[in-house]
């Protein structure tokens, strides 16, 4: 405000008329002008009591900007034009005139300028009527301005923008709305809410958040003494998780040397299946400090967790029993002697597997039939071959007539059955035999139309016997105990499968209806009963009435042979899967005992006629001897004791022992092997 007044007053009094500022400059003028300023300042002094103080403040503020205050105070007026004719260029702060500088001669000034190396940086300040020498910094500023940059190098023209107003959480930068009234009066709703909270806190509905710390040790005596006594059983059969396995020696950091697998063993683990591979490979560290952290620790703990909540749990009874206690208490074998144990004799001579053997009722002779097409008779005690019949075909079965005064051998060939005179016994018997084995008229048996085609009785010229020609291959033959009747089995599905023959009359019958494919048939040792074995069943017939009495279910896959106990109430059945069934006819139609004896087919089972023994022969090259006591007391079950495994035969084309027979009076067992040897086992 003060400045304006100055300007007004100065403009009224004089107008600066100086035309060329450089020329007009002299000391006197400066003095006079300063006088004038002083005088004029006196004039305005009274009016400017207040304003001077203001001015000083302004000066202070100017000085803070480190600029020398301009001596001239005329303000922004066209100096050249107004002060052209005046002696002064303006007024200083006190109001005194600032006189113009005496003008310099142009030539002098030029010379001066040429001498002065700093002349180029001197400029003439028109306003203050003086020459100013620019400093380096100022020149730099000028250069920067000229090149279009900011005057000061330290100024960053592209500074980050800092907003002067904080927008965040405000929603809108500015609002011109006047403060509403509600900001000045206490809120009714807040008051209500506070009151409500206070009430709730007092009532204990809201807890102040100091509770956090209390939770830290929130433990108390959970199990009191009475919980221990209370029957607090868990529901539904709780099964506690099994405890993890305790570590053995091999898990030690320093296990004994023998627990560390060799490099080869470790390599061999690689070849194993992943499940079989050992999970943990022991390693040895020579001292405790070298043991590293176990890298699977967390994983194993995690797996345990998974096991605990994912694995189904059941209670398994782990029996910790001595395996010996599982074995049944069998009577000592010593008490059950005698029974065949050792190979005593071998009968060699056959050229092929011996299919069948038979012991004559006197116990002196042994007959055998072989695949080499011969049938032989041996003397049992010496092992001498007594007689050889060249039958020309494979002898499948051979059977002595059980009657001692009829030393006849029945030999089964493919389709034929030969009845041969063995030539044993004295002259009376021999003559009788000759009679018996003579067929007077060849067509004598041809009476019934059906049986005619089944069997034909023919005289055999070569061996002086009878040849019975069957319509199909014969599987087995069995004599009746009296020695007159015998039966042959032809494995066909019709009623002609089982044939009964009478030797004295040279007559054959087919009394049975068809019952599947029979395998073998046996007479009862004392009664008029007849047993027919099909593949899975054994049929029991009454011969006097010709009707079926029983049907025994064996439960095996395929029956191979059958034998009747001399008492007649028990039978054993051998099967092709190596199982043997013991039937007690009075007990049940199901086996009393099934024994899995052999690993391969059972070829023959047989009872001893007098001793409580039976045996089974099998293709696995063994024969098994059993003890069997049958009690007359019906309440007592038969006692079966396995006694001995007889080995010695060698396998030939997958076959082992083909037949076994007991000696009629001694506890001796004959076995015929596929290795063409017959063996005698004695006690």
């Amino acid at each position: 405000m003060g400045k304006e007044k100055y300007e007004e007053s100065s403009s009224d009094e004089e107008v600066n008329s100086s035309s060329d500022v450089v020329e007009a400059s002299s000391d006197e003028e400066v003095e006079s002008s300063s006088d004038e300023v002083e005088a004029s300042s006196d004039d305005v002094e009274s009016s400017e009591d207040e304003s001077s103080s203001d001015n000083e403040k302004v000066e202070e503020s100017d000085s803070s900007e480190d600029e020398v205050a301009p001596r001239n105070t005329v303000g922004d007026i066209p100096l050249v034009e107004w002060h052209k004719d005046e002696e002064h260029i303006g007024y200083d702060i006190k109001g005194r005139k600032i006189m113009k500088q005496p003008r310099k001669d142009k030539l002098a000034s030029f010379i001066e300028g040429a001498d002065d190396p700093k002349n180029w940086r001197k400029i003439y300040d028109e306003y203050n009527d003086e020459e100013i020498e620019l400093t380096k910094d100022e020149i730099k500023i000028i250069q920067r301005v000229i090149s279009g940059r900011t005057p000061h190098a330290e100024v960053n023209p592209y500074e980050d923008y800092v907003d002067w107003f904080e927008y965040e959480d405000k929603g809108h930068p500015l609002s011109n709305a006047p403060e509403p009234k509600r900001r000045f009066i206490p809120s009714k709703w807040e008051q209500k809410r506070v009151a409500n909270l206070v009430r709730k806190i007092r009532a204990g509905l809201i807890k102040v958040s100091d509770q956090h710390k209390e939770e830290e040790h929130n433990v108390y005596s959970l199990w009191t003494d009475d919980t221990d006594s209370v029957e607090n059983k868990k529901h539904g059969g709780y099964v506690p998780a099994p405890k993890p396995k305790l570590p053995g020696h091999e898990e030690a950091y320093n296990p004994p040397v023998e627990y560390i697998p060799t490099a080869e063993e470790i390599n061999s683990y690689e070849l194993m299946y992943e499940e079989d591979r050992p999970k943990f490979i022991p390693r040895r560290y020579l001292n405790y400090r070298s043991v590293p952290a176990y890298d699977k620790g967390v994983k194993e703990s995690f797996d345990r967790c998974l096991d605990q909540y994912l694995c189904p749990r059941t209670r398994k009874k782990r029996i910790n029993i001595d395996p010996e206690s599982l074995k049944p208490k069998l009577p000592s074998r010593k008490d059950l002697r005698p029974y065949p144990t050792t190979c005593y004799l071998e009968y060699r001579g056959h050229m092929g597997p011996v299919n069948c053997i038979s012991v004559d009722p006197s116990g002196q002779w042994l007959a055998s039939g072989s695949t080499d097409g011969t049938a032989r008779v041996w003397e049992i005690e010496t092992g001498r071959c007594l007689k050889i019949w060249e039958v020309g075909e494979v002898a499948r079965q051979i059977c002595w007539n059980p009657s001692p005064d009829r030393p006849i051998l029945a030999v089964v060939l493919e389709y034929d059955v030969l009845l041969l005179n063995s030539g044993m016994g004295d002259i009376d018997i021999q003559t009788k035999m000759k009679e018996l084995l003579h067929i007077s008229e060849p067509g004598a048996t041809e009476d019934a139309g059906d049986s005619k085609s089944a069997v034909t009785w023919i005289q055999h010229e070569k061996h002086d016997g009878i040849r019975m020609k069957h319509f199909k291959a014969v599987l087995s033959i069995e004599w009746h105990f009296k020695g007159d009747y015998f039966t042959t089995v032809v494995p066909s599905g019709d009623s002609k499968a089982i044939l009964l023959h009478q030797l004295s009359k040279k007559h054959s019958e087919t009394p049975f209806r068809k019952l599947g494919i029979p395998v073998t048939a046996v007479f009862h040792p004392s009664k008029k009963k007849f047993f027919v074995a099909t593949k899975k069943f054994v049929h029991v017939y009454d011969l006097s009435k010709v009707e079926k009495i029983q049907k025994l279910e064996t439960g095996v896959r395929e029956i191979s042979s059958i034998s009747i106990h001399p008492g007649g109430e028990n039978i054993i059945v051998g099967s092709k899967e190596g199982k043997m069934c013991w039937f007690d006819l009075e007990l049940s139609t199901r086996p009393y005992k099934t024994l899995k004896v052999h690993s391969k087919d059972i070829t023959r089972v047989t009872f001893h006629r007098t001793y409580p023994l039976f045996a089974s022969a099998s293709d696995d090259c063994t024969a098994y001897v059993f003890h069997s006591t049958v009690y007359s007391d019906l309440n007592q079950n038969p006692l079966i004791v396995p006694l001995e495994i007889l080995r010695g035969h060698k396998p030939e084309h997958g076959r082992g022992v083909l037949d076994c027979k007991y000696h009629p009076r001694q506890p001796w067992l004959f076995t015929a092997g596929a290795d063409s040897i017959i063996k005698l086992y004695c006690h």
């Binding site: 958040s209 710390k213 830290e216 040790h217 929130n218 005596s221 959970l222 199990w223 919980t227 221990d228 059983k233 529901h235 539904g236 099964v239 998780a241 993890p244 305790l246 570590p247 020696h249 898990e251 030690a252 320093n254 296990p255 004994p256 040397v257 023998e258 627990y259 560390i260 560290y285 020579l286 405790y288 400090r289 043991v291 590293p292 952290a293 176990y294 967390v298 994983k299 703990s301 967790c305 605990q308 909540y309 994912l310 749990r313 059941t314 029993i321 395996p323 599982l326 074995k327 049944p328 010593k334 144990t341 050792t342 024994l595 899995k596 396995p642 001995e644 495994i645 007889l646 080995r647």
Partner: protein, 607 residues
């Protein structure tokens, strides 16, 4: 029960279908997600079952229907639902950028307690102890994990685990109920006997644990949640049983020096001598101290705070500690023989742990067996220069300065002594030596059929020690300061005992032979027959002796007897018998392999 739809008469669910439910159906029935169901199952201890017939297919998981109905009435289920609802609220607040609300809601997250569940699962205290193995292993594992912010596990919980495990160890050590220890590759196994229950747990080695990615920490943390609570309650009960106030107040300076265990020992020892009434009054004054000290432990306390706390400490001269420990030793009456044996194993022996030895394990074991232990560092009961130190445990290649009055042994010596329950001669465990093999105390060598060489040595030493049990106390009093002398005596006795035993055995052998011959003569066996039999007897098993046969037939082989019996067994029994035989055979094979390796090793050593 699941929805009771109308079911035609006679069509009622029966059998397995009525007793079991598949997992999918169970979650649907409970109306929870699989995660919640899992959590519930873990906390409630519900596990899948195996129905006799898997009526919905073989690949499904079946639960007992009773278990699931039991879950349906569980208040925890409701709590978890609340929690889920609350989490949704927090999520919503965050989505709306209402930070304040979100924070407030987070602070007021619904919590649940597991105490009732623990009582339900373990109706008696013994039940809880029986099932403590997994709990302890897990807590010790987490205690050893790195307490680093930003990892998957909260630091608070790791500290809590650390505290709980130390409390447990302090109790075991104080009651001398530690029985067996074993350094395995996986960590150190401990077995303790508390109230007749054998509790075995595993602590990892004191090294940085490896956190693998193939582990779902949510599951583990759920388990840990239950285990932490369980162990807290168990500790409470156990501490109460020895008259110590439970949340123990620790010596903050020791705690700061990472010797919490030692601090706990001191606390337990002092606590037990104090009368309960006195305890109450003191505890109230100490409670405040405890609380600010707790805060300090939460935040890793700085040295400054430490200095502030130091003046609050009671005096901790080793002498005072000894006094306390001895006092506490005198006051138990009802202890069994085993505990007494354990308590006196290291009695009157002073141990010093070198810097490199893992301190925590030994600090736990040695006091548990009556020894006094110190280590290098601040706040220790006694210094390394103490003259009474009998054993210094070191684990370095060489020991520079040695005190002649003490033995320098490797850490394994302590573990082996503890397992053998005798002081083993320290010669084999000297510094820089390869120690003898470390054997697992959990193996019954006789049942296994193979006894390592070192086990036999230990057995002999035990036998001699047993013989010397009577004169030992005298020796103890006489020259405890001179253990060399003591051990030399022991060696003398041992050799004498060995000789005596040898003679006795010879006599017995002769006697037995005489009796055998007499018996044979009575049964009518000729001398030549016995000679022929003898060979087979020696080579074969002992069974041959019981056979009543004179002549062994050629046709029969040794297993004929077996075959005969096997033939007569039922199929079921035969199967069982064969399975037993197979497992026995496997065992034999294993032993044979061990013997073979041993033979080779000794051959290569000598050759």
């Amino acid at each position: 029960m699941p929805p009771k739809h109308y079911r035609a008469p006679g069509k009622k669910k029966e059998g397995n279908a009525a007793k079991y439910i598949t997992r999918t159906k169970a979650t649907k029935y409970l109306q929870v997600s699989l995660n919640t169901f899992r959590k519930l199952c873990i906390l409630k201890g519900i596990f899948p079952r195996v129905p006799k017939k898997k009526f919905e297919g073989n690949h499904k998981t079946y639960y007992s229907l009773k278990d699931i109905t039991f879950l349906a009435h569980e208040p925890l289920l409701e709590k978890l639902r609340h929690k889920r609802a609350h989490e949704k609220k927090v999520k919503k607040a965050k989505a709306r950028k209402n930070k304040e609300l979100a924070e407030r809601l987070l602070n007021r997250m619904p919590t649940y307690k597991l105490d009732r569940l623990i009582l339900e699962r373990y109706p008696t205290f013994v039940d809880a102890l029986r099932d403590l193995d997994d709990c302890l292993t897990m807590v010790h594992l987490f205690a050893s994990l790195p307490a680093v912010e930003g990892e998957r596990i909260q630091v608070k919980r790791i500290h809590n685990c650390r505290r709980l495990s130390h409390e447990w160890q302090a109790f075991i050590s104080r009651t001398h109920s530690l029985r067996k220890t074993f350094i395995s590759v996986k960590g150190i196994y401990y077995q303790a006997e508390v109230q007749g229950q054998k509790i075995t747990w595993l602590t990892p080695h004191a090294l940085q644990q490896v956190l693998t990615d193939d582990v779902d920490f949510n599951i583990m943390l759920t388990f840990l949640e239950f285990y932490e609570t369980l162990l807290g309650f168990v500790n409470f009960k156990l501490y109460n049983s020895i008259n110590v106030k439970y949340p123990p107040i620790l010596d903050p300076r020791l705690e700061a020096l990472a010797a919490e265990l030692y601090a706990l020992f001191r606390y337990v020892a002092t606590g037990s001598t104090r009368k309960p009434a006195e305890n109450q009054s003191i505890s109230s004054t100490e409670e405040k101290k405890d609380s600010d000290e707790k805060m300090d432990t939460c935040v890793n306390e700085s040295d400054l705070q430490l200095a502030q706390l130091q003046h609050q400490l009671p005096s901790n001269e080793p002498g005072a500690l000894m006094q306390l420990l001895e006092d506490s030793n005198n006051d138990d009456d009802d202890v069994d023989q085993d505990t007494i044996e354990c308590k006196t194993l290291f009695k009157n022996l002073k141990f010093f742990l070198s810097r490199e030895v893992p301190r925590e394990a030994l600090l736990f074991i040695i006091p548990a067996f009556g020894g006094v232990v110190s280590w290098e560092g601040e706040g220790t009961p006694f210094e390394e220069t103490d003259e009474d130190i009998a054993y210094q445990i070191v684990d370095r290649p060489t020991q520079g300065h040695k005190f002649l009055s003490r033995h320098y042994v490797q850490p394994q010596w302590v573990f082996d002594c503890v397992n053998a329950r005798i002081i083993l001669p320290a010669d084999a465990y000297m510094v820089g030596m390869v120690p003898p093999p470390h054997l697992s105390p959990f193996v019954d060598d006789e049942a296994e059929g193979y006894m390592p060489e070192y086990a036999e040595t230990i057995k002999q030493l035990q036998a001699t020690a047993k013989k010397n049990v009577m004169p030992l106390p005298d020796l103890d009093n006489q020259d405890l300061a001179d253990p060399q002398n003591l051990i030399a005596d022991g060696v003398m006795d041992r050799t004498q005992a060995n000789e005596a035993a040898e003679e006795r055995r010879k006599l017995q052998l002769l006697e037995k032979q005489y009796h055998d011959e007499l018996k044979m003569e009575m049964s009518g066996i000729t001398y030549s027959a016995t000679l022929s039999n003898k060979k087979s007897e020696n080579s074969g098993s002992e069974e041959m002796q019981h056979k009543d046969e004179v002549v062994v037939p050629v046709s029969t082989e040794k297993n004929d007897e077996d075959d005969r019996a096997k033939l007569y067994m039922s199929r079921k029994k035969r199967g069982l018998y064969e399975a037993i035989e197979i497992s026995n055979q496997r065992k034999k094979d294993k032993v044979a392999l061990l013997k073979e390796r041993k033979r080779k090793a000794s051959a290569s050593k000598s050759g």
